[in-house]
């Protein structure tokens, strides 16, 4: 790839001071200029104060991206995206470390309140009180003497990403005690360059696909997690993504490494405001589980889906992949997809280590004009690897909902096992449900099972619920919750109630 090599050479010649200058001129606007070229990539990298290797990495991705074509195999339709008509970097004003609640834009606080992050955490989030102190005062009010936190209340560390910038990360100190690193990836690039360099792009290489490559070039922030050997992460880690700015693409990058024998559970929540125009979201998530490690990754995706006429909404083109690199490792994806105008997303597992295990539990709800093409890939490479896929697709309105999945066994993957269950539920007569499973086995001892069902909410079920006093919307929400129960039960507590409520909200207006 001579072009790439050329870029690297060019980048090496870059006068860093010159970029500092560029940085200065740009800072007034808090946004990169519209459009995407090499200078945009350099701008983002400079804005983040990145080391040279990172800038090179990005530029390499950008060069590659220029040669790539947007994929068209998914069952989604949308007008051509003009990549030059977007902003690639946007930061809320005065987000360089607030010292009191007053310094945080009240709009941002309100936003997080609406997202369901409790007030106590919001304060921590805003950096007003350190996490430990906050937990203490909480215990006091609960008549608990010296307990650091009331029994039974589970703590969740939060990293909040507002547009392109990680606003704040909570419980950093407590996590540090356990040796867990949880911080914005932009910080990790500066503070733990060796770890980031070793693992970034090792699961989703910069050449992977159009959107992942774009992300590699222009990602602005995201979360970084490292759980050291033998450590069970003491609390759930959580990131809330929020697109706010107009015409702004959001490109987060999440990297989670679970070292040998460790465990971590990670929650991701996403929202965006209502906008007439479409917003682009192209994230990359990489998970690495080493020997005997386990990662549980849960998402509740509630980006704005567009209005009744199908105007606006988020284009969600996401690459999520986990690598069970070590023996006996386990990666589990659980996703609740209710938002976005378009969802293009296949959280996958590479089952490399012997006896490793991958899971994918999914609820995908589409209503109105939404289009979902989502599923998973389970790539069995190691011996006695196991995977399990439970997908529940719910289509309503004029939407289209496709499950696309691949289960494959490498010729060395003796004893590989997969169980797949794909259930589709249709509400009304104008929506579509599609199931596209691919199964490839190059090892005779592999056993793959696939089950699929398609059903409709019957008029009799609706009438029965109405006769008992429920409104149509309550009845649909109840029936759909029942349909998706197997997956809802896999969600962490924090997401369970939210999901049940969300199912009701996202199906509003789907009947009658």
């Amino acid at each position: 790839m001579p072009a790439v090599q050329e870029t690297i050479e060019q980048v090496k010649e870059i006068d860093v001071d010159k970029y500092k200058y560029g940085f200065e001129t740009f800072i007034e606007s808090d946004r990169a200029p519209k459009g995407l070229d090499e200078s945009t990539v350099r701008f983002i990298s400079a804005k983040k104060g990145e080391p040279e290797w990172m800038t090179e990495w990005r530029l390499q991705a950008f060069e590659r991206w220029l040669t790539m074509k947007e994929p068209s195999w998914a069952r989604v339709k949308y007008p051509k995206i003009d990549y030059q008509d977007l902003y690639y970097y946007s930061a809320p004003k005065s987000m360089s470390g607030p010292n009191s609640l007053d310094e945080v834009d009240p709009e941002i606080l309100r936003t997080y309140e609406k997202l369901g992050i409790p007030l106590r955490e919001q304060e921590i989030l805003a950096g007003v009180r350190p996490a430990v102190e906050a937990a203490d005062s909480d215990a006091d009010s609960d008549d608990d003497s010296d307990a650091p936190a009331a029994e039974g209340t589970r703590q969740v560390a939060v990293d909040a990403v507002f547009d392109s910038v990680s606003v704040a990360t909570t419980f950093k100190k407590e996590l540090a005690k356990a040796g867990v690193i949880f911080m914005p990836i932009s910080e990790a690039i500066r503070e733990y360059p060796d770890l980031v360099r070793k693992y970034l792009g090792s699961v989703v290489p910069i050449t992977d696909n159009f959107f992942a490559t774009l992300n590699s070039a222009v990602f602005s922030d995201g979360s970084f997690v490292y759980v050291p050997k033998g450590v069970r992460c003491p609390m759930e880690l959580s990131t809330y993504f929020r697109i706010n700015e107009r015409n702004t693409g959001q490109f987060e990058r999440t990297l989670i490494i679970a070292d040998e024998g460790s465990y971590v559970s990670y929650l991701e929540g996403c929202t965006a405001p209502m906008r007439d125009e479409n917003q682009l979201h192209a994230a990359v998530v990489e998970l690495i589980a080493l020997d005997d490690a386990e990662i549980k990754y849960s998402t509740v995706q509630n980006w704005y889906p567009g209005d009744k006429e199908g105007k606006g909404g988020v284009y969600n083109f996401v690459t999520k992949r986990g690598d069970c690199r070590g023996k006996n490792s386990k990666i589990s994806w659980t996703q609740v997809e209710t938002g976005s105008a378009i969802t293009w997303k296949y959280p996958s597992c590479i089952l490399r280590g012997d006896n490793s295990e991958g899971e994918f539990y999914s609820i995908a709800i589409s209503n109105g004009h939404q289009q979902i093409d989502s599923g998973t890939k389970m790539i069995h490479l190691g011996k006695n690897t196991k995977s399990r896929i439970i997908s529940k697709g719910i289509s309503a309105g004029l939407s289209n909902n496709t499950y696309r999945g691949l289960v494959s066994a490498h010729r060395k993957a003796s004893g590989a096992r997969n169980f797949t269950q794909c259930d589709s539920l249709l509400i009304g007569g104008k929506c579509g449900a599609h199931t596209v499973p691919y199964i490839e086995s190059k090892n005779a001892s592999a056993v793959f099972e696939h089950e699929a069902t398609t059903s409709k909410i019957s008029d009799d079920q609706m009438f029965y619920c109405l006769q008992r006093g429920m409104s149509e919307e309550e009845a649909v929400a109840l029936i759909v919750n029942g349909f998706a129960r197997e997956v809802i039960q896999k969600l962490p507590m924090e997401f369970m109630a939210e999901t049940q409520r969300l199912i009701g909200i996202s199906l509003e207006g789907s009947v009658g």
């Binding site: 019957s458 008029d459 009799d460 079920q461 009438f463 029965y464 619920c465 109405l466 006769q467 008992r468 006093g469 429920m470 409104s471 149509e472 309550e474 109840l478 029936i479 919750n481 029942g482 349909f483 998706a484 129960r485 197997e486």
Partner: protein, 250 residues
């Protein structure tokens, strides 16, 4: 409580007329039995009372507690106290029986402007009522009616009825598919609910059920209308002679 006057109704899909001038008055505290041969329109009547969409009322009126029942949505009727015990209770996979009961209960309370029940209060009520109907805690955890035996489904209907405490109970062939022990449990459940404020309409083929739930009035329905009304003795007479003379009379 309920006044049905000259009710005419047809199946919306194919215009088949099912009810042809049915009139019935049910006072508070009364138990009425409606008997009749297959196809006489008994189940249709129960669906129309509950507000099922599949039928068009072409003439006549239904007044419930002084209001035009036909103007109300099915869930509004439920909140106003109309309950239908289904002949074939519907299965809802994945929805726990307890969850279903609580959702229904609180939906009705909200519609009436009453506060929702707290979970402990609700659980206490359900447990009390379930015990009397021989419904085990395990059954309450299972998805609604899924894999329930015929008897379990019918007992579950009575449990819902007892919990929601309606003022008008319409029971559509609640005795079908029940053995004698289950019949007794169900009938005892219904009898416990008899009160001066509550009216009950029992739809059945057989007089057997009426030995356990003793009606104040018995009506014979044929070809979409009530062709004869009387006291309890009418049911015994039907048992003896069958419906033939009424089918012809209609």
């Amino acid at each position: 409580m309920l006044e049905i006057d000259n009710l005419h109704a047809k199946v919306a899909e194919d215009d088949t007329e099912i009810l042809r001038g049915l009139s019935l008055k049910v006072g508070p505290g009364e138990v009425h039995a409606i008997m009749g041969p297959n196809g006489s329109g008994k189940s249709t009547l129960s669906y129309i009372l509950a507000g099922k969409e599949d039928y068009d009322v072409t003439d006549g009126s239904i007044t419930y507690k002084g209001e035009d029942l036909l103007e109300m949505e099915p869930d509004e009727r439920a909140a106003a106290g109309v309950f239908l015990a289904f002949q074939y209770p519907i299965e809802i996979p994945g929805v726990g029986t307890m969850t279903f009961l609580k959702t229904a209960m609180n939906a009705q309370r909200r519609a009436r402007g009453e506060p929702e029940l707290t979970t402990p209060d609700f659980m206490r009520q359900v447990r009390e009522l379930a015990g009397a109907l021989n419904i085990t805690p395990d059954m309450l955890k299972r998805p609604l009616n899924v894999g329930f035996s015929g008897g379990e489904k019918k007992r579950n209907e009575i449990l819902q009825m007892a919990l929601l405490a309606p003022s008008l109970c319409v029971m559509d062939e609640t005795d079908s598919g029940l053995d004698i022990d289950a019949l007794r449990i169900v009938a005892d459940g219904v009898n416990r609910m008899r009160s001066p404020e509550r009216s009950i309409i029992v739809i059945t083929h057989y007089q057997r059920l009426l030995e356990y739930i003793v009606p104040d009035h018995v009506h014979v329905m044929s070809r979409g209308r009530i062709v004869k009304s009387g006291g309890r003795e009418l049911a015994l007479e039907l048992e003896e002679n069958g419906y033939a003379e009424y089918v012809e009379a209609a």
